[in-house]
């Protein structure tokens, strides 16, 4: 279970998170929606300790993760359970695609023989709809959507218990989005992983969410099961779902 309590984060004078409270039960798929620039990525990064909250508490299975020291054994053990797909892919451009995917399998506590790591990488690439011939290319040689999928393959390569997806389908065509949605659903159901996904894509929300949370003005505006999303009666959420320019959320932010 992941729990955020009163999480605040400001960059300079810009208050991005102003008291985020959120609970993600083990084995569930939580989707976070909200306008761009509202701090959804910052929210994920604070759970991973990439951003240190100014105030508030974040626990993963009862363990306070904001106090883990960078490079400590506890933090390594904590991170070994995670997979993260970054919004921009964040592939290492000096490494081949397969070395990116197998990064964790080539060093550290999960290290295994090179040939085996490569086979796993190719298998994961296939699961995200990429053919084995991309394995030996460099990330810069791929299109944006392909890079995203390589990032996804890297996130799931070591079979993590907790997976964060930051806009997994942005920049993909509708068919490929469908493939990725099914894959995320499959990972949660089959591997029993806990997932937290950020997306703007309402089709995606309906395909992968158990629960939905909407971030607005630095706080969780609404959270509940995906089935109740359409009948929430919350004007902010309704405006977001219907994609209407009219409503309480200002178009110019």
């Amino acid at each position: 279970m992941i729990e955020l309590k009163g999480v605040h984060k400001a960059f300079g004078s810009k208050e991005v998170l102003r008291g985020v409270d959120l609970v993600i039960p083990k084995g569930e798929s939580m989707v976070i929606i909200g306008g761009s620039g509202t701090g959804k990525s910052v929210c994920l990064k604070s759970v991973l300790g990439l951003v240190t909250p100014d105030k508030g508490e974040i626990t993963v299975e009862g363990q306070d993760v904001t106090r883990l020291r960078q490079g400590s054994r506890e933090r390594d053990a904590f991170l070994a359970r995670f997979g993260m797909l970054f919004q921009g892919g964040a592939l290492f451009d000096s490494l081949h695609v397969w070395e990116n995917v197998a990064f964790r399998l080539l060093r550290g506590s999960l290290k295994r023989p090179k040939q085996e790591a490569r086979e796993i990488a190719i298998e994961k690439l296939r699961r995200v709809g990429l053919t084995p011939d991309v394995a030996d290319q460099f990330p810069a040689e791929l299109s944006g959507g392909m890079q995203k999928r390589v990032g996804l393959a890297r996130a799931i390569a070591a079979e993590p218990e907790i997976i964060f997806f930051d806009e997994p389908t942005t920049g993909l065509d509708p068919i490929m989005s469908g493939v990725i949605n099914d894959l995320i659903r499959e990972i949660v159901v089959e591997m029993g992983a806990t997932a937290m996904t950020i997306t703007h894509d309402m089709t995606s929300v309906r395909a992968i969410a158990d629960k939905v949370a909407m971030l607005h003005a630095g706080k969780i505006r609404w959270t509940g099961p995906v089935a109740e999303m359409d009948t929430s009666g919350d004007p902010y959420l309704t405006q977001f779902i219907t994609g209407s320019a009219e409503g309480p959320i200002e178009a110019v932010r």
Binding site: G49, L50, L79, A80, M84, A90, D93, F103, R107
Partner: protein
């Protein structure tokens, strides 16, 4: 009053920067004693920093050695030119010009590329990705670069010293009509161990500074392309100034005592 306040703010800012750089340097070195290490990254950096810098090192020092020989000859050493030119070229190259020129070329070539590479990794979230993949950026990126530069720079400086002396030799023999073997004997007889030791030590220190500044500025890069640009500029300026300052201090330590 505002003038004094400005000076005060500048001094405080400079002290804070020195503090941050020192902490970064100690942190980097401390990872030498703490596994995991990444020998493959170290090997790649040896090639990139060392091997790939050889052409630029050779070109800079050969022309400087040659010019130095002409200058000393033109500057009134015509009497005992055959002895004085090789001696001053050797001393000048080995003690000062070799290490300083190679140091500055490395600041231009290596510091800039290290800073730009790491800053790009920072702004494209690759550093964050490294962390989530349980890999410490200081161990995986900083230490291999700093260590490789420190180890390989004495070699580059030695090569630079030799090629610089060769530049003087070619000019001496071809242009000034000196006897080739006399030139070489004069060079070798005149150089002392301290000259060579100081030259190579300077190289190691300058290499450390050059790579450290590249990593430091890269890791602190602001977001966006402008962030990468100013990180790179800052790194090259800081490395160049620090190399020249360190050169003064090292010369003082080796030769003024």
């Amino acid at each position: 009053m505002t003038f004094l306040a400005a000076i005060g703010a500048f001094v405080l800012g400079a002290l804070a920067a020195v503090g941050r750089v020192s902490i970064f340097a100690f942190d980097t070195v401390s990872h030498l004693a703490r596994p995991p290490w990444y020998p493959r990254e170290f090997g790649v950096q040896i090639l990139q920093i060392g091997w790939n810098s050889l052409p630029v090192v050779g070109l800079t020092t050969i022309f400087t050695g040659g010019a130095l020989a002409l200058q000393i000859y033109a500057g009134g050493a015509r009497f005992s030119a055959e002895a004085v030119v090789p001696q001053i070229v050797a001393i000048g190259m080995v003690r000062e010009l070799g290490p300083v020129l190679v140091g500055l070329m490395i600041a231009a070539r290596v510091t800039s590329s290290v800073a730009a590479e790491i800053a790009t990794m920072k702004v494209t979230e690759q550093i964050d990705a490294l962390v989530t993949l349980s890999t410490h950026p200081m161990k995986y990126l900083t230490l291999p670069r700093v260590l490789a530069a420190t180890v390989v720079m004495p070699v580059l400086v030695a090569v630079g010293d030799i090629i610089g002396i060769m530049g003087g030799f070619v000019v001496g023999v071809q242009r000034l009509g000196f006897n080739a073997s006399t030139y070489l004997t004069n060079t070798i007889d005149f150089l002392e161990w301290i000259d060579i030791v100081s030259s190579l030590s300077k190289g190691a220190v300058f290499g450390f500074i050059a790579a450290l500044m590249g990593c430091y500025f890269g890791m602190r890069s602001e977001r966006g392309a402008a962030g990468v640009g100013s990180a790179t500029k800052g790194a090259v300026v800081a490395a160049s100034v620090l190399i020249l300052a360190a050169n003064f201090i090292l010369t003082e330590m080796f030769f003024a005592g």
